[in-house]
């Protein structure tokens, strides 16, 4: 392990630790309508929007109204995106003269970007005009993470005894106060490092040995910034952040790794601030943080040791560089991939399909759990879902009434939390089973042997977790996958969000129970440990069998030098 790798990791983690407090506090101030530094430039713009739509900044909605507003708005975006993609040939900013996007692909892309999954069944550089990239897809990369963030904020308000708030206000503030200012800063760093930001046509290059290259350009830097700050993960080009046009240096790799995590980590801190239970906030940060470090190690060490079958050839170095870029190395690649999976971004700086089976388990782990900080807001919702289930389990074990934040957890909350938990494996396992059982599904498999099953599992897991990365060999552009994963993305996205909003409302309506000697404390290391254990056991019970058939089987076969 090189000193550069250690320092690179240390810088990323240090930035999270330094920013989580100011950023988390800032989030709380914005969404409890206290004055902040950006009021002066941004308030007039926001007030204009609020006036047009006839909504008061501090108005309220019920869980039903909030969910409906969320669903209707998202639906409008999906329809709008579909229409604009279908009309691409007639719209401006199209110097490469790309025609209309075909109907299935337009459906898959519209749902994929609206659900914040950003699964891509196309290659941006040879499919999408500049207009489609920035005015359709990049726009969705702002407002859809803002949707997830809004849902997270609404839930946090209920936990702190406030009303849910207004979806339209939260959506707007999430965009103007968090995503936009950070995007502007990150864009400028990325351009300075060499990412193009232009509207002129693709660049024609004639190399010294007579090769002609057409090099894509466009507003790539501004795309990369929001792609990562919003945990979106849709690549401007097919190779995503492995492409030197999207991440030309080791510094851009680190900046993007950091950009993805800033808000999800800060949201965990914001939870502690808004509920007035900072110790519990830190407990949750600790649990997610441990999982983040486990993933990092699980990715790095096997990849650095390399593939035993290739090592038998006797080369100069052993690290697995298949699908990795020289400028990042295994160390830089590992921190990026850990971040992109933990924060459910789904952009990639390397080819996930070419990772060793044992390290790929880190990818699955992140997507199964979906709360190793997760997407901002949504990741926290998933974490709190596990907290509620854990509180309930402990309550059963020790025979106490389960309580969380001074409210009794009863049948309704546990049922809703169980639904939110079970939707995820249901989508993944049923989707995979359907694909394996049908010729249409099997037609998409690229790599033979157990790795082919891994590709299918990965596809459905990525869709259900709204991650968006892929084992790139899978034929994602086949109609079967465009439609099946399209449906999985929609249910995976809205099912758990809405269940959690109703839990929030239900908790809000309950009377607080005063703390007594019998109260179980959730802000202790002991509870953190039990929470971590419950998360691991629940998910292992659910997913171990399918992992055994995919990556685990392949790992043993690889160690026995078996090829397919």
């Amino acid at each position: 392990m090189s000193i550069q790798t250690i320092l690179t990791w240390a810088v990323v983690i240090a930035v999270f630790l330094v920013t989580l407090k100011p950023l988390g506090t800032y989030i709380v101030r914005v969404f409890t309508f206290q004055p902040t530094i950006l009021d002066r430039p941004l308030k007039p713009i926001e007030n204009f929007i609020f006036r047009v739509i006839g909504v008061d900044r501090e108005s309220d909605m019920s869980a039903k109204e909030y969910s409906l507003a969320l669903i209707l708005t998202n639906f409008a975006w999906a329809v709008g995106a579909y229409i604009l993609l279908r009309l691409q040939g007639q719209l401006p900013f199209n110097p490469q003269h790309f025609g209309a996007v075909n109907p299935q692909l337009a459906f898959n892309t519209a749902t994929s970007f609206t659900t914040n999954t950003n699964w891509q069944a196309y290659s941006g550089e040879n499919t999408m005009s500049y207009f489609s990239q920035f005015a359709v897809l990049s726009y969705l990369q702002f407002v859809t993470p803002a949707t997830g963030g809004a849902a997270g904020i609404a839930f946090l308000r209920t936990l702190s005894g406030r009303k849910l708030g207004n979806f339209f206000v939260d959506l707007t503030l999430m965009t103007t106060r968090l995503l936009l200012p950070l995007s502007i800063i990150v864009t400028l760093i990325l351009v300075a490092q060499g990412i193009p930001e232009a509207l002129s046509p693709y660049l024609h290059v004639h190399s010294i040995v007579g090769q002609t290259q057409v090099v894509p350009r466009g507003p790539i830097a501004s795309w990369e910034a929001i792609e990562h700050l919003g945990q979106n993960g849709g690549g401007y080009t097919n190779a995503n952040s492995a492409n030197p046009l999207e991440s030309p240096t080791a510094i851009t790799n680190v900046v993007l790794s950091i950009a993805m995590g800033l808000l999800p980590v800060a949201f965990f801190y914001a939870f502690g601030v808004i509920t007035g239970r900072r110790r519990l906030g830190w407990t949750l940060i600790g649990v997610a943080g441990v999982l983040y470090l486990v993933m990092l190690a699980l990715l790095y060490f096997p990849e650095a040791a390399g593939n035993p079958i290739i090592n038998a050839i006797g080369l100069h170095t052993h690290a697995n560089m298949v699908g990795k870029e020289t400028r990042f190395g295994v160390g830089g690649t590992s921190i990026f991939e850990t971040s992109t999976m933990a924060f459910t971004t789904g952009s990639v700086a390397s080819a996930h399909d070419s990772f060793l089976p044992i390290s790929s388990i880190a990818f699955y782990l992140a997507m199964f759990l979906n709360m190793v900080f997760g997407g901002k807001g949504v990741g926290l919702l998933n974490m709190l879902m596990f907290v509620i289930i854990t509180v309930f389990l402990i309550g059963l074990m020790v025979g106490r009434t389960p309580e969380f934040l001074g409210k009794k957890i009863e049948a309704k909350e546990v049922s809703l939390a169980s639904v939110a938990f079970l939707i995820h494996p249901l989508l993944i396992l049923a989707g995979t089973a359907l694909a394996v059982a049908t010729p249409a599904g099997m037609a998409g498999v690229f790599n033979p042997g157990p790795h082919g099953l891994s590709e299918i599992i990965y596809g459905f897991t990525s869709g259900a977790a709204n991650n968006g990365s892929a084992f790139g060999g899978l034929g994602a552009a086949l109609p079967f996958y465009e439609i099946a994963i399209g449906i999985v993305m929609v249910i995976g996205r809205y099912g758990s969000i809405i269940a959690m909003l109703f839990i929030g409302q239900s908790l809000l309506q309950k009377k607080a129970v005063p703390e007594s000697a019998g109260t179980m404390h959730t802000d202790t290391v002991l509870f953190g440990g039990v929470l971590l254990g419950s998360i691991v056991i629940l998910n292992a019970l659910t997913f171990f069998p399918i992992m055994a058939l995919g990556p685990i089987a392949e790992q043993y076969l690889m160690m026995a030098h078996h090829l397919f």
Binding site: L72, I313, H316, V322, G323, E554
Partner: protein, 191 residues
């Protein structure tokens, strides 16, 4: 109906702000502050654009340094960036690697297997990786010296001059940009 007005109003309002104003303003600002980078980091030779600095190019001539294997069609095609996506137990992966090792051994006088870095025979994530490790450049010198008549010492010196260390001393590993290095070779061959 009130909710529909809000749905459309907020969508259009934010669209103007972050769908149009943001990318267009960032493009304008970037064009003023960083025109070289924003327009694709063009490297020019005699007034013609010969490379985009961060995008790799395909070299298979004996007199130039070779980059990493590329999975795009044709190799190093920036219009179709892609990795190979071959899994670790795929027969094809091992076949490709062994074929590349054999090619290097055949074309490079005195080269042995244990001198070849894995990255030199394993394809990159984008198919456009412009960089190779320093060792990957050094092992190619005998072939290039033989093909061009440039002395091994001169070539070693050239490689050493083109080593790019970790950024800020921390980020990334030492490497060589193949496009950049070959431009220097080109200038030696065409004084």
């Amino acid at each position: 109906m009130k909710v529909l007005r809000a749905v459309i109003g907020v969508s259009v309002g934010l669209w103007i702000l972050v769908g149009l104003a943001y990318p267009l303003a960032m493009t304008g600002i970037s064009q003023i502050l960083f025109p070289y980078q924003a327009n694709g980091s063009q490297i020019k030779l005699n007034g013609k654009v010969v490379a985009s600095a961060h995008v790799g190019q395909y070299f298979d001539q004996a007199q130039y340094f070779w980059g990493r294997p590329s999975a795009t069609t044709p190799p190093y095609n920036p219009m179709a960036s892609t990795p190979s996506n071959l899994g670790p137990t795929n027969k094809l992966l091992i076949q490709h690697i062994k074929a590349r090792v054999a090619l290097l051994l055949k074309t490079t006088p005195g080269l042995t297997v244990n001198q070849i870095p894995a990255s030199m025979v394993e394809s990159s994530g984008s198919g456009l990786d412009p960089d190779i490790t320093v060792q990957s450049a050094l092992i190619q010198i005998p072939r290039i010296a033989k093909a061009t008549g440039i002395s091994r010492n001169t070539l070693t010196h050239l490689v050493n001059q083109h080593i790019i260390g970790p950024q800020l001393g921390i980020f990334g590993r030492s490497h060589v940009n193949v496009v950049d290095l070959n431009l220097a070779v080109f200038k030696l061959l065409h004084p």
